[in-house]
Symmetry: C2
Subunit: 145 residues, 2 copies
């Protein structure tokens, strides 16, 4: 939950990548957002930190960040163009239908379920993606007003 810019910067370096101004801006944009951002939104938001930030660079940087598991694509109901920072390890997301706030679920108890799926289908399970939609605490409150 408490991901800092410095930790992200170090992760990027550790992956053998340079820490450039545009990349800093992209990390800042992702860090500042509570909801998944599309490449275009990341560019817009990131331009506060690096005025020249190009969309092409956003795409290229997301590709890198995804390859080293620093960012995770989120496929929500209304499209599949969202990215959020990833907590290391296997996680899933709950996205608020109203305000799009995202909470990560660290630690994933789907093991039993996947075992049953494997047994029933004969497939050797290698990976899975789970997205959960709901209404966050704050929005449940608002509903009552």
């Amino acid at each position: 939950m408490t991901i800092t810019f410095d930790v992200l910067a170090e992760q990027l370096r550790a992956g053998g990548h340079k820490l450039t101004q545009p990349r800093r801006a992209i990390l800042q944009a992702l860090l500042a957002s509570a909801k998944p951002l599309s490449p275009a939104e990341i560019q817009q938001s990131g331009q506060a930190f690096c005025a020249e930030l190009g969309l092409v660079t956003v795409y290229r940087t997301l590709e890198i960040l995804e390859s080293i598991d620093m960012v995770r694509p989120v496929h929500v109901a209304d499209g599949c163009h969202g990215y959020v920072l990833a907590t290391p390890g296997h996680t899933h997301h709950v996205v608020c239908e109203r305000c799009h706030a995202v909470v990560e679920i660290v630690g994933c108890d789907l093991g039993d379920f996947l075992d049953r799926v494997a047994a029933r289908t004969g497939y050797q399970i290698t990976d899975h993606w789970l997205e959960i939609a709901g209404i966050c605490g704050a929005c449940q409150q608002e509903k009552m007003d």
Copy 2:
């Protein structure tokens, strides 16, 4: 598992939509495929049944089919442009990484898991998407050759 063309045709009619040649072709294409098809693939495959089938019509028809839950978008690892026929009720898919064969998991035991998520996050869970990747029986065999 045993969805027939006639059942699909009736579902479409019941939704208040006309059963046209292009739409028949799209249903046939989906029915004949064991894996999720992109709009472009549906067009190509559907042209065996309706030579003039246009891509625009595929998009429009998928929109209708999705709105009446006859088709389900599948977000796989390599993109999010796949559609498969939906078995009535809540289902999830296992997609083979090698041959892209798809098996539906009918009946979904995620209830407990989702309850725990709700308790831990304070979110009121409204919906979820789960995609599972694996290697199907046939491809596991091939691997040994």
